[in-house]
């Protein structure tokens, strides 16, 4: 094997050692974790921050005069500030903390769209979307008589941009588009798409669940109206998420859920809602999770998102090279602009069988439809095997994947 093939241009710092879970054997083999797009692993600093919070600082937030409540509130609100800075939002009031991307998108569907969309209006999405960026819009369409329209993709899994632009008509109330496809890894040119939507007067929600873990994100530069993402895909705890919303829009929207924390004053006659972002944060939040999300951001900042993007781009190239050498492999999702996610089929082996055989060699991949059934339908398949890389993966992981695929071919020969 040539030197050029083995060595990515960006040297791998041993980030892996920061992730305790990776240091274990699965089915008698050292674990190779290639499923970060489903859920990323957490560095020790995140695990420790959550534990330390639970041991030392926990109390409810925004409610008590006592010391622990202050500490908990500071930790929670401190994380909000880190999130604001991380995505360069103008104001901390634009950072709504949710349970994940799914809740963030449902919030926009129910609080932004439902009250003002009219029967005959359209919600525009794309064929690449995750179910979380399809079903909430279907629900609001059912509730209001609006219509869901879907922009097509080509055989590489790229948006057909001309068609997408031509679909941005006057009756489109909102465009909801993924930043990066979880099933295929396609990186959409969201900045250009948003610029065009703006010209057409269409607000844009970006599903950033797979964008934030792989590249620097600047919501002001993107000029999006909403940006939704999940903590657990960016090396933080599950059950945490963010909705960035432009302040003027959030301000004009009714609350999503009612309860404690989202009010200023309650009587049985009327209730005055709290200010942003608390208006959208009813009930006791996932405090420790959000503390962990803050720690994840600290960790990512210390590594550097640019560096992560560059390292992953090299590793992805290496993976493409190696996968390309496997007989009978069929890559699904061959966009020019990709994150380090690759879907594939191997001969006529069903992806679940492949997943089992790989797991028994310690290699964890995702199999099936990846919560993106329409993408699968577009390619006339029921599912794929998917390897998704994070910056804690390296060329050895890719080599192990390829060796495991060769074994799978032998089992099914």
């Amino acid at each position: 094997m040539s030197h050029a093939q083995r060595q990515p241009a960006v040297a791998a710092v041993d980030w892996r050692k920061d992730f305790p879970i990776l240091n274990q054997s699965v089915n008698g083999q050292p674990l190779v974790y290639l499923d970060s797009a489903a859920s990323a692993q957490q560095p020790a600093s995140v695990i420790d921050a959550v534990a330390r919070y639970q041991r030392e600082d926990h109390a409810n937030v925004h409610r008590g005069v006592h010391t622990l409540s202050h500490r908990a509130t500071d930790a929670y609100e401190g994380a909000r500030d880190k999130i604001r800075e991380f995505i360069n939002a103008a104001n901390r009031s634009e950072i709504v903390l949710t349970s994940g991307t799914t809740e963030s998108i449902n919030l926009v569907a129910q609080s932004f769209c439902r009250p003002r969309i009219a029967s005959g209006d359209k919600i525009l999405i794309t064929h690449l979307e995750h179910h979380a960026n399809i079903v909430p819009w279907q629900l609001v369409c059912e509730q209001t008589g609006a219509e869901l329209v879907v922009a097509p993709i080509d055989d590489h899994g790229q948006l057909e941009l001309e068609t997408l632009r031509s679909m941005m008509t006057k009756d489109v109330f909102l465009l909801a588009v993924g930043h990066v496809s979880n099933a295929l890894g396609t990186v959409n040119p969201v900045k250009d798409i948003i610029a065009h939507a703006k010209q057409c007067g269409i607000p844009v929600l970006v599903d950033g669940a797979q964008g934030v873990p792989h590249m620097p994100v600047d919501v002001q530069d993107l000029d999006c109206d909403f940006y939704a993402f999940s903590g657990h895909k960016m090396f933080g705890p599950t059950g945490t998420g963010v909705l960035y919303g432009r302040e003027t829009l959030l301000d004009s929207m009714p609350p999503y859920q009612g309860g404690g924390d989202m009010i200023l004053e309650v009587s049985f006659e009327s209730t005055i809602y709290n200010e942003l972002p608390y208006k959208f944060e009813a009930g006791t939040p996932n405090i420790s999770g959000v503390v962990g999300l803050g720690a994840a951001i600290d960790y990512l900042q210390s590594v550097g998102m640019q560096r992560i993007a560059a390292y992953e781009a090299d590793l992805h190239q290496y993976m493409l090279l190696k996968l390309g050498q496997v007989d009978d492999i069929h890559l699904i999702g061959t966009a020019v602009n990709k994150a380090s996610v690759q879907s594939f089929l191997l001969g006529d082996i069903h992806s679940h069988d492949l997943g089992t055989i790989l797991d028994h060699q310690g290699v964890a991949i995702r199999t099936g439809h990846h919560c993106a059934m329409p993408v699968m339908t577009r390619f006339g398949i029921s599912g794929t095997a998917r390897a998704s890389l994070a910056f804690y993966n390296n060329t050895d992981d890719v080599d192990r994947l390829v060796a495991a695929l060769e074994k799978a071919r032998q089992v099914f020969k």
Binding site: N27, G28, Q29, P30, I349, H350, S351, H352, D353, T356, I357, H360, Q361, G362, T367, G368, H369, M373, S382, G383, D399, R400, A403, A404, E406, K407, Q410, V411, F412
Partner: protein
Amino acid sequence: MNVHAAVTDDVLDLYRELILDHARSPRHFGRLANATHKARGINPLCGDKICVYLCIDDNARIEAISFDGSGCAISVASASLLTDAIIGLSADRAETIFSAVTERLTDGGKGQPGNIDVELDRPLEKIRALDGVREFPSRVKCATLAWHALRSALRQDAQPATTE
């Protein structure tokens, strides 16, 4: 040689010859035009879909059986083995075999293999080829999917069967 790339015996046991053969050339595959009973089985986790068709005569005997749908090697092979095992039996006997097989493949079966082996008498012994899944908890549902569809068909359930 890559020392990490050994496939364990468990995997080879799961994908033994008979399973791969039935997965690649499923028996009784297709729709049964004159089906008196049919039911779908859906595994919501992975999207596998199997539909079982039965033709049950006046004496409650399963005179014809078929299946169609799509799924992994385990679910297709299991459905195929099912059709071979069930054809010609009485509906009652098919129910009994459903219980025997599902118990055998899930944890319950491990405790009392003696009992269950009585049900899997000689004509049914090929079903034992599915035993490999007992080492793969995440795949047991693939192996039982068609069996749940069979039971739904026998009982004429309106809802598709799921393995949940």
